[in-house]
């Protein structure tokens, strides 16, 4: 559970993918590949990115929806919210109603 999330965050390429999905949601695999290559100078094969996305999806950090032959990816930051409170203590005034 939390283990999957921390392990998913351990790789710099996966963190860059999260950055990219935060900046422009709903990208397909090919869009992510080209933007990682252009903006971040990461020359990786399509399968490498696909495997990273699988790890992120298994951790619940990325959600996907299919439309025809396209698969769109979106960041889900919810699992990250209280991840480190285990050691920092709850943020005193967070979630004030």
């Amino acid at each position: 559970m939390a283990d999957d999330i921390f392990k998913a965050l351990a790789d710099p390429t996966r963190r860059t993918i999260l950055d990219e999905l935060a900046e422009s949601p709903g990208q397909t695999l090919f869009e992510l590949c080209s933007r990682l290559a252009m903006k971040h100078r990461l020359g990786m094969s399509r399968q490498a990115v696909s495997q990273h996305l699988a790890v992120l999806e298994a951790a619940g950090l990325v959600e996907t929806r299919r439309e025809g032959r396209y698969k769109f990816h979106d960041l889900n930051p919810a699992p990250l919210r209280h991840l480190t409170e285990r050691w920092t203590g709850p943020n005193p005034t967070e979630d004030t109603p």
Copy 2:
């Protein structure tokens, strides 16, 4: 920098060590070894724990002080505070004075 922190958090044993140091600060290597063995049923060699502590210290999550032949370890949660805001956005009401 952030890479060291995420990589340090990726291992479940290291997260347990942080838990243990949060619960009772200032433990020595041997104290940590025995408590990991007793409370968490982790049978590891002393060197394994020592190497984990080195990783945590390199990431800035654990600080140490020597006294004679003892070396005491303390949790430093500061690097964890804003670690995930990169994707969650800043906590709206955090750090209110």
